[in-house]
Symmetry: C2
Subunit: 190 residues, 2 copies
DNA sequence: ACTACAATTAGTACCTGGTTCTAATACGAG
DNA sequence: CTCGTATTAGAACCAGGTACTAATTGTAGT
């Protein structure tokens, strides 16, 4: 039963009686047993998720969890590879998620209201698999005030293994025009 | 009233009577008038949104829609920048989505059972905004059979404007070991 | 002041999708 | 056959409504 509800959380107890050919009381007893809340409660929880998501969208503007940040110096973030980040056929992480973590961290580490990625140079050293935790370390290598750009180097590890190595050039200006990729108001400045 | 509900969609008619100091019938008449559904309906709609989001995740194993593909030669994909792809504060596309489109296309264009990104070199030429359609064009520049790797160059445009330019090195082998990023069974080979 | 009309409020019946509780029935093991 | 568990039935109750009818209040026009 848990499977059916998981697959279609919108199912009512009534509908379950028809699928499982048991009485509605059995459905409800089992649901109690399994700790599965009633339909409305399920909907409410899902609704709260979307609502939180919408409200907290700025939070995942950084992909991965930033656990250390020294502005204009270095930063560390952790990103766990889950089902939604891998190719289904071989459970290997899709490159753009690893890129996203590194890119987000490179932007977060820059001490500026709006920071934009200008170029990125990424080397995928080895595959990352489902369930692995990727620790990305970013180091600001140079900050050239006149030209408003910073070079950031990022190393991503799984345990001791280097999995990704990247160089980013980040524009620090708030001006629009020649560079791409969004600005960023980060979590570390309040 | 519409404002209160918009701000807190989880409010019941009862709670509204207390906030607006009118009877519950007035609340309900007004809600009818404004075409605002009852609490449970609102929750259900929100729940369906989250559910759709989760369900459609596997679909984007190739980011963007591939509209032309000549294996080992070139490919074109289109990717529309939607709300979920941009920074909320300035509506500029997050870099990793543009990367993802280019990377996906670079892999798709390789005529191999499993293709993996080894390195990527990306330049973000200009910002891409909400609602813009990004057309990525990939060209296979070299295919060195002995070393099992291919160089792919990708140009992404919005209209006539070049927005992203990237060089990818893709491993064509099925062997594991030194390269990262998942294999890929693409839509074009069945 | 009286009337007409809209807005507001009250009240009742009914609905869905449940919970909670008590009680009856079926079913298999010892 | 009896004990214990699983299943089913049934009734009362609840939240958060819809749908409908009717009374009350307010207010503007003449």
């Amino acid at each position: 039963m848990a499977g059916i509800i998981e697959e279609n959380p919108f199912v009512t107890d009534q509908e379950l009686t028809r699928k499982l050919r048991v009485s509605i009381q059995t459905i409800r007893l089992d649901r109690m047993e399994l700790g599965i809340p009633e339909l409305r409660e399920r909907l409410k929880v899902m609704a709260e998720q979307t609502y939180d998501q919408v409200r907290s969208l700025p939070i995942d503007e950084v992909i991965g969890e930033v656990i250390d940040l020294q502005l204009d110096r270095s930063g560390i973030s952790i990103f766990e590879i889950k089902q939604e980040h891998v190719f289904s056929r071989n459970h290997v992480a899709r490159g753009h998620h690893l890129f996203a973590q590194a890119n987000s961290l490179a932007i977060a580490v820059i001490n500026e209201e709006v920071a934009l990625t200008a170029t990125a140079d990424i080397r995928f050293v080895r595959q990352v698999h489902l369930g692995e935790k990727v620790v990305a370390k970013a180091y600001v290598r140079s900050v050239s005030g006149e030209r408003n750009k910073a070079k950031v180097e990022v190393f991503s590890y799984v345990g001791d293994d280097l999995v990704v190595h990247g160089h980013f050039i980040i524009f620090r200006s708030t001006s629009e025009g020649t560079v791409s990729e969004g600005g960023h108001e980060d979590e570390n400045r309040h």
